[in-house]
Symmetry: C2
Subunit: 255 residues, 2 copies
Amino acid sequence: MIVDYNKLNKKMKGTSVPKPLSGTLSGHAAGEPFDKHVYAEIKKQFPKNTFRQYEYLNDLFSKNPDVIGFDARQALFNSPTVLFLLSRGKNATDKWSMENPFDEKQNDTADILVVKDNFYELIDIKTRNILKSAQPPNIISSYKLAQLCAKMIDNKEFDNFTINYFELDWKLEHDRLTCTNAHFASLFNANPSDLYINWAAAMQIQFHVCDLPQTFKDTREKWTELYLKHFVTQAKKRAGDMIIKFVKPFEKYIN
Amino acid sequence: MIVDYNKLNKKMKGTSVPKPLSGTLSGHAAGEPFDKHVYAEIKKQFPKNTFRQYEYLNDLFSKNPDVIGFDARQALFNSPTVLFLLSRGKNATDKWSMENPFDEKQNDTADILVVKDNFYELIDIKTRNILKSAQPPNIISSYKLAQLCAKMIDNKEFDNFTINYFELDWKLEHDRLTCTNAHFASLFNANPSDLYINWAAAMQIQFHVCDLPQTFKDTREKWTELYLKHFVTQAKKRAGDMIIKFVKPFEKYIN
């Protein structure tokens, strides 16, 4: 791990950002200015290593101007797993040029990327209005995470990246959002069987960062195996539940 | 059917509303001012019969001030099917009073309700930025519709309500949204098997109103039977697809 989250926590607590002019204060978008705030702070600590995901891709492709086209650009990643996590689609990658770089994309895996000595630290910022009780936010697609685990096993890549979450709690004070607290959790320090999959919400894993137990002590390889077991068990359960809830009660009407 | 949608279409085309001050022009919320515009127009034509869903409930309960509590208030509806479509939950209904009436709710079934001679016309307004190609919007939960069809069959209620959709297409012109066209479709004029169910998006039926074929000519009773067949078939298919996509590929990693 590159970033010191305890230090980051102390830096953030008590800081404030202007209330967004547009939009309501409900929804996860409200705290977005904090995302930029955290990025600026990490960048201050690691100026050469801190990127937005799209910035990293623009940087990588710009440094290799002779490498053109999807396949060649994919090969610039020295890790198939990191490639899977960070790369864009074929069409977008084919079209990339210095004049037509990538822009921020809503469903990029990471908000912030810190890269050092071939280690990739993916950081996703979650913001939370402490005065409202909200559903846990979408964290990552459970299916994407299953594909990721399979790739880690296939390529025996267990130590070259991590996925971290940083939650900023805020409240509205005098037209500004003030950070009251912050919480850190690493996905791979959670017990895979604790991860809740909301199948109806695009199969997203959902949790509040502050509520995620960080009790997993075994190896990363073990983690991937346990997660895949969990995912497969939950997928089977959901398929069975669908029959019980959506098929059985209606069968008598359709003979 | 109470409302004349051809007439409504002519009234709407070419009209404009101020661009919303907050929020972006992407997303379905952008056209929301048109929703109010359509409501005002229908209300002009049927002043005593046109309601917001919450207004209708407030009106019904206000006219029966001695009827108190969930069960008694539920009994005010003379139709179990309409009750299922329009009523709020137990807690909210228990708490209702003249001083604490219902307010608009995001997931109410209808935007507009026209009630005449014990016939309920539910109208949902969909607005669409014609300059952006967007995913078809959420229409109604496929599960809720299945429950509705079962209730219709159980209570032999096939003729006392309908569910209609009215799409307003708009574009941004000089800081105003101008309605370029409008489209009408009735849910029960669509062939049930044409209804696309997006299981990952909260099991919502999704379509653009302008694209919904209105080719169903049989009885409403037949419609409910065909829809339940469609729903059950699709639920079984989704359960099977989940095993193929989310279980099989990962089994080799987990024993």
